[in-house]
Structures are given as C-alpha cells and as structure tokens.
Symmetry: C2
Subunit: 95 residues, 2 copies
DNA sequence: ACAAAAGATAACAAATAAGTTATCATAAAG
DNA sequence: CTTTATGATAACTTATTTGTTATCTTTTGT
C-alpha cells in the first residue's frame, strides 16, 4: 500500500485518480486561478467584475473559493471582460 | 431600422448582440459541434460516450441539441474520452 | 478612531442541470 | 417482417447553481 501524505501524492496516484480526472481538476484549478489573477491584475473587485460580467458577486465569491462548479456560460461571462475565452484543444492522456 | 431576416443578421447586429455575447454563443456552438463531430468520427453512440464519460445518455442528448447549458465539469468529462480538453486563451473583442 | 471598500457568507427562492427509468420513432441489418 | 441500435424525449426526482438580500469581518486609507 502506497503512502499518501499530501494532496499531490493522492492526485498522482494512478489507482485513485485517473489521468482524465486529474486533467479535469487541474483545468478547474487553473481556471479559477486565472480568473482571480486577471481580476486582481486589472484592479477589479468582485463587485466590479459582477457589474462587468452580469454574474452576481456572491456567485463569484463561491466560484473563486471553489464551492461551486460553474456552468460553461458563467465561465465565459466572467472571462470575457478579463480578456480571455476558452478554446478546445487536443489532449493526450500522458501515461 | 436595420432589417433583420436571418439569425446571422441578428447575431451580427452590434445593437442587439454584444461582441462578448456573440463570442460566448459562438464558443458554445463550436463546442457542441466538436463533441458531436468527434463522437461520430470515433464511431461512438451517445450510449458509448455515456459509458466512457460517466455522463448519462439523456444528458448528452439534451446537451447535443442545445437544450441545456452544461457545467464545466460535464464538458470536460465528455471531451476527455474524445481526446480533447479546454484551454484559457486571450480574447480580443474585435471592433 | 472612523469610514469605506472588500471578500466571505448566511438564508432562502428560483432556475436549471443531471440522474433515473422507460419508451418512442426511425433507420439499418438480418 | 423482425430485430436491433440509435437518438430523442417524457416524466419525475435529486442535486446544484445562481440570484436575492442582507450582513459580517477584515483590511485599507484618512
């Protein structure tokens, strides 16, 4: 039985987290990070971004603290005023 | 008053659809198209993809006919077995 | 010390995505 | 013609997101 001490250990354990699931979680973390980073870089408060995106401040707060899994249109509404969008790209499950 | 005859006319009318909203709708259409296309290219039925992704067949059918706005994790679950994922990229609202 | 702004959160309602189960119509295959 | 596979859909439940409104705490700036 492999020792699991950290979250990284857990995430990298093939028997517990599949490459697909890891990819998905990584993307979600990256996405939230990017939104927070871009928002702060532009000097926007959550309320500013709420006004610009049409998504309400409590929803932004929930999302930024990863207590919800947003719908795709919510994500795009938030990214747009931050100067980002999403694209679909090929993905090789790295073995 | 500008004449609106087709959906394209409507979508391209700056006074009705903002660049951000157009971008968002374009992405969602592209996404659905890609999922259908990739699924069929691989010879997968909706039931096949349901088994591979963990998303149920009725949910896939609703999504493919654009009668729902999926959550981001649902999108990623569907894209993974099709060999795709999402990335965040800069977006210039074209004037 | 005070005021203002920020992020977090609580509590509830409204909306909707997703699961569940079953069935239907259609098309393809035998 | 019958069977089989497929996509669509119906009906209902469950789970979750989002909106709404309000408040709280903390931080920042004066």
């Amino acid at each position: 039985m492999k020792e699991i001490n950290t979250l990284a250990d857990y995430m990298n354990d093939e028997n517990r987290v599949s490459p697909e699931e890891r990819q998905r979680i990584n993307f979600e973390v990256e996405l939230i990070g990017k939104i927070i980073e871009a928002r702060e870089q532009r000097g926007y408060s959550q309320r500013d971004l709420a006004r610009l995106s049409g998504v309400k401040q409590p929803a932004i707060a929930r999302l930024e603290s990863m207590r919800s899994t947003p719908q795709i249109d919510t994500v795009l509404k938030l990214l747009a005023p931050l100067g980002y969008t999403l694209t679909i790209v090929p993905f090789e499950p790295q073995r």
